[in-house]
């Protein structure tokens, strides 16, 4: 599998990268970890004339705290996010989800930003990002803008990041002490999610004070299971209320049908997995 010929640039600053993107426009593709871009190029499903490698831009990498937020550079590899103590402390759901992304090799190459911009509906970062109300910092020729998680994912493989823009940061509000779990359903270990459920709950005593539930691969974009959240908020953290709430998991979803299951089965799975994810989170979470 040999990609069509292309030219390659590796800018060292964001400005240079934006300039290169401005210059080559539609003919260019940004390269992050290459785990999704390169297969597509090698199968010749895409043949950009220019590949702009973001790998040498230091400012796009790393994780830091800023007030109430964690700031994760778009070019931070999955493995780094997954092992980061700040993430584990303040956004544990991301830690949970990163452990389930592909295999170790891909986690070391692929980046959190690349995965989110790629916006594969079966990808494992979108649902946690939505559940956590992450904000996305996007740089363009005209400056930077910030987009909320609810407005970020537009469709299959389509996000708010324009052709001439670069995702630079993912900002995640700290949810310290929340109980979390990412329940991923696959047939073989290193597989894209057939369905997955991301949950984060805050308990006050025996009551669910807040609940956030994201769904992977239940539609063209990652979804929030608002019905479940609504049904659970303010309810006792018991098996009964969780089961009742989880029954609403597939409300408003439009899951795909493929080799791994049809839409009806996925709707059923979403309910079972939501119940299990919530129970695991409530009883202490993944830790």
């Amino acid at each position: 599998m040999i990609p069509a010929a292309f030219d390659y640039v590796a800018p060292t600053t964001l400005e240079e990268a934006l300039a290169a993107l401005g210059e080559h426009g539609d003919d260019a593709k940004l390269l992050a970890g290459g785990q999704s871009l390169l297969p597509v190029m090698r199968m010749r499903l895409n043949a950009p004339e220019w590949v702009i490698d973001l790998g040498r831009i230091e400012s796009l990498r790393g994780i830091r705290e800023e007030g109430d937020e964690l700031v994760i550079g778009a070019m931070t590899p999955h493995a780094v996010v997954g092992e980061d103590p700040l993430v584990a402390q303040h956004a544990r759901l991301l830690t949970d989800a990163e452990a389930e992304v592909a295999d170790a090799q891909i986690r070391h190459r692929g980046t959190i930003g690349g995965a989110l911009v790629h916006a594969d509906p079966a990808g494992d970062l979108g649902a946690p990002a939505r559940a956590l109300d992450a904000r996305f910092v996007i740089a363009g020729a005209g400056g930077t803008r910030t987009v909320a998680a609810d407005e970020f994912f537009l469709d299959l493989f389509e996000t708010a990041v324009g052709e001439d823009e670069i995702l630079t940061e993912i900002r995640v509000p700290k949810r310290t002490g929340w109980r979390t779990h990412y329940e991923k359903f696959v047939r073989v270990k290193h597989q894209w999610s057939i369905v997955a459920v991301a949950v984060a709950v805050r308990l006050e005593g025996d009551t669910v004070a807040e609940a956030r539930v994201g769904l992977t691969n239940m539609g063209n974009t990652p979804l929030r299971a608002r019905g479940v959240e609504e049904a659970l908020t303010g309810r006792p953290a018991t098996e009964e209320s969780v089961a009742a709430a989880a029954a609403r998991a597939s409300e408003g979803t439009a899951p795909p049908s493929d080799l791994n299951g049809d839409a009806a089965y996925r709707s059923h799975l979403a309910q079972v997995l939501t119940r299990r994810a919530l129970m695991t989170a409530i009883s202490g979470g993944t830790a």
Binding site: M1, K29, M43, L45, N46, A47, A122, L156
Partner: protein, 834 residues
């Protein structure tokens, strides 16, 4: 001090856990795979393949491709014409078999998606690929025969799609065995009729899904036409068969052809083929007068290298009320794909002898209809015919047990051949030489803690646990060690089944061993070294095993059908014994003793009752010098032997599998797997474990994960490893293995084949376990692969779980700059899954 006797026992190589000598180079990549070969002036090929399953080719415009940078030639089927030759089927299973002509490149019509329509040669592989994208082919789509049952029923009259309209039918051959006719048993219809009034009749239909061998190294061929001989390197299991077939079909004298299979990265039957790509690489090399290389991509490999299995099995089993089987009737439909491959319809026919398995069935009828469709051709895949048969009968024995309400092991024991009944001639006409099913089963039960797991199963059933436990049994045997040439001849197979070996004592005492069994990952070099080291009494390290090059190993029939050890190993023993026989008079001469007084042990000829002795290495040195040999003695110890087996070998074993089935999601989780195999004498336990482990995973994968899925138009949907689910180590559990040893009586080492055993046995063990877990919920079958959705649907009353939706996961976003519309293998990505 140890005596000579003790030393030979202490140092016995046979039975020793030798690490594989080939692994260092294979694992570190310090070896030469075909694709690593680079020759001066070599050009590279890229294939243009049809994206349609069935279409008339109405025009091919190669002008733009010819203008593309670095292009040396662009050729189509009509342009190459007879130069490209034809591909042959070596096993027409009936005299009236309908066999479509198979040219390596389509001439005016394509019969499966992936068939080659043009070939580009260029200075680099990248330039060849670039130019291939520019070849513009006009197709006029034809109705495609995709579904096996529909294809079998199609006729010109009913308007069903025909894979090759000119043939007027999709039916290729009907092969029948009937025990009453053959005189090996009684009439099956009578047995069934009797059981219908006073007994039990079980009727089931099972699907053997299509599988893809998915060997690790994609296929690759390099051809050098610039020497006196035409040299062909190919990632193949069968260099000797390839040489023979090329000579027979391309008009190249066999003596002018040298075929080399260097280190080959796996095959599983998938490289037991004469491929269009090999033929085209030869044709281009001859036309251009330059070395040519072709290496397929993974997408091309999945789509166009032959697939395996793909059958519908209709089975009827009759028994008395006490569980004694009185007859078995087997009606198969087998999908050949678009062409009849080298073994082709012979694959299901191999299964004909195995449906009766380890049992004493008095009546048996087998009928197999092979069918042409517009899909990738099918052929041997690990087990070839025997996994299908074993699956069918082992599922049926579980169904019989369930019907009678008895333990599945009990019903088997009632019907199997007792160990004191060997040798036993089966209802299919084979003579099983040895076996001990009771012993293997006893040991397997013990390791499995069978009774404890049955109690746990009962507890879970009683408490209504959402996770149910199932126990699956598979007591298998198989015929391997292909094969007695006469038997192959009686089945109209196009070649024999002997194997050849050569043993050369070098002047310095090391040994070169040449085998015609060409390895592709099995560990021949290690196991064969152990055999020769023991036989000749030389150090293991001093034995070098050579293979895979027709100039080094001129005679051979290669590696498949678990034949290398039982046939090739026996040839090696015979060649080694000849070396000893030749050395003996020399030793006697040097020791000034008579030949009758010599004995040979642990590498030394000694004079009985004295201290005098000489090592075989020293004899080799003396023969090399040739200064002092007996009068008239030829100065050489080199020996060869060609061994034609007198019978197949019949490994057997009892496999027990426990699975946990999550009834809420349908997910199946492996809990425990015990395999107690009897493969006769074990040369290297480590290699045997490796073969069993790998075989088990491959068989389990058929039960749970793998399926080649085509959509209605005949496009392979599972065209990448995202959708064709291969297991990794992370998906398996640690297996519990043990062995009983009942030596084979048909070869001197007592070995039986082990290469396919795990694959053959494990698939029904797993499916039986899944069904066993769910039987109280009314489930009596789950179609393979037992996907979570199928299991869940079966629980919820949808029969055996329904078919697989024909859509891939859309992970590869297309679109963007200058994508290519007709890239085969790129099963539609955009919009799929909505």
């Amino acid at each position: 001090m140890t005596t000579v006797d003790d030393r030979s026992v202490a140092e016995a190589e046979i039975g020793r856990d030798r690490r594989r000598k080939e692994d260092a180079r294979l694992i570190t990549g310090r070896t030469r795979w075909t694709d690593n070969i680079t020759l001066t002036g070599m050009v590279h090929l890229a294939m243009v393949r049809s994206p349609f399953a069935h279409a008339r080719v109405t025009g091919i415009d190669t002008a733009a491709a010819k203008q593309s940078a670095g292009v040396v030639a662009v050729l189509t089927g009509p342009e190459l014409g007879e130069e490209m030759g034809v591909l042959i089927n070596a096993w027409p299973i009936t005299p009236d078999q309908v066999t479509p002509v198979h040219t390596p490149m389509a001439v005016d019509r394509v019969a499966f998606a992936g068939e080659i329509v043009a070939v580009v040669a260029a200075r680099s592989a990248a330039e060849a690929r670039d130019a291939a994208e520019l070849v513009d082919v006009d197709y006029e789509e034809l109705p495609a025969a995709v579904d096996l049952k529909e294809a079998a029923a199609a006729t010109p009259e009913n308007g069903g799609a025909l894979a090759h309209p000119d043939l007027g039918t999709n039916k290729s051959a009907l092969w029948i065995f009937d025990s009453a006719e053959a005189g090996t048993g009684s009439d099956v219809e009578e047995a069934i009729a009797r059981a219908r009034t006073d007994g039990v009749v079980i009727e089931r239909e099972f699907r053997q899904q299509r599988l893809i061998p998915a060997f690790m190294e994609p296929r690759s061929t390099v051809v050098d036409p610039t020497g006196e001989q035409l040299t062909v390197w190919s990632a193949t299991q069968i260099p000797h068969v390839l040489r023979f077939a090329m000579a027979a079909t391309l008009g190249i004298p066999e003596s002018k052809l040298r075929v080399i299979a260097p280190d080959v990265g796996g095959g599983f039957g998938g490289k037991l083929q004469l491929t269009p790509e090999e033929w085209l690489t030869v044709a281009l090399a001859r036309r251009l007068g330059k070395p040519v290389k072709y290496t397929e991509t993974r997408s091309e490999s999945l789509m166009s290298a032959h697939h395996g299995r793909d059958q519908w099995q209709k089975l009827t089993l009759s028994a008395t009320k006490d569980g004694t089987v009185t007859g078995l009737k087997v009606e198969l439909l087998a999908d050949l794909g678009a062409y009849v491959a080298i073994v082709g319809g012979g694959v299901p026919v191999l299964g004909a002898f195995m449906f009766n398995a380890i049992y004493k069935f008095p009546a048996y009828h087998f009928a197999c209809q092979t069918v042409l469709t517009n899909k990738t051709w099918t052929d041997a895949y690990r087990g070839a015919g025997r996994p299908e048969a074993t699956f069918g009968i082992e599922r049926m024995m579980d169904e019989l047990a369930a019907e009678l309400g008895v333990d599945p092991l009990e019903v088997r024991e009632k019907n199997w051949i007792k160990h004191e009944e060997f040798p036993f001639t089966t209802v299919a006409g084979l003579e099983y030489d040895s076996g001990h099913y009771e012993a293997a089963t006893e040991r397997a039960k013990e390791l499995f803690e069978y009774d404890d797991l049955r109690s746990e199963q009962r507890r879970r059933r009683e408490s209504g646990d959402p996770v149910q436990l199932g126990i699956g049994v598979s007591t298998f045997t198989e015929m391997c060690g292909l094969a007695p040439s006469r038997v192959l001849g009686s089945l109209d197979y196009g070649a024999g089944g002997w194997e050849s070996a050569q043993v050369r004592m070098l002047a310095t005492g090391t040994v070169e061993v040449v085998t015609g069994a060409s390895a592709h990952g099995q560990g021949h070099e290690t196991a064969f070294s152990q055999i020769v080291a023991d036989r000749l009494g030389v150090p293991f390290e001093d034995v070098e095993v050579l293979h895979g090059d027709t100039q080094v190993a001129p005679k051979g029939l290669d590696t498949y059908g678990s034949r290398s050890l039982v046939v090739g190993g026996e040839a090696l023993v015979k060649a080694s014994d000849k070396v000893i026989e030749k050395a003996k008079p020399v030793a006697a001469h040097l020791l000034e003793a008579s030949v009758e007084d010599l004995e040979f042990r642990a590498g030394t000829f000694s004079v009985r009752g004295t201290e005098a002795g000489i090592s075989i290495q020293d004899v080799a040195g003396a023969v090399f010098a040739a200064h002092n040999l007996p009068d008239g003695m030829e100065p050489s110890l080199d020996s060869d032997a060609t061994y034609d087996p007198v019978n197949f070998s019949y490994p057997h074993g009892t496999h027990l599998c426990a699975v946990e089935v999550d009834t809420e999601t349908g997910q199946v989780r492996m809990r425990k797997y015990v395999a107690c195999d009897d493969v006769g004498t074990i040369i290297n336990p480590l290699i045997v474990s490796g073969q069993v482990h790998g075989g088990l995973v491959q068989g389990i994968a058929q039960a749970l994960w793998e399926e080649a899925v085509f959509d209605e138009s005949g496009t392979l949907v599972s065209g990448s490893f995202v959708d064709y689910l291969l297991p990794t180590a992370a998906d398996t559990i640690s297996f519990d293995l043990d062995h009983t040893v009942t030596p084979s009586l048909t070869n001197s080492l007592g070995t039986k084949g082990v290469g396919e055993a795990g694959t053959i046995a494990s698939t029904p063990a797993v499916v039986n376990a899944v069904v066993d877990a769910l039987r109280p919920l009314g489930v009596e079958d789950v179609t393979m692969p037992c996907t979570p959705q199928r299991v869940w649907q079966a629980i919820h009353g949808a029969g055996s779980g329904g078919s697989t939706p024909g859509a891939a996961m859309p992970h590869f976003e297309s679109g963007g700059a200058a994508g290519n519309q007709e890239q085969p293998g790129a099963s539609s990505t955009e919009g799929a899954g909505q």
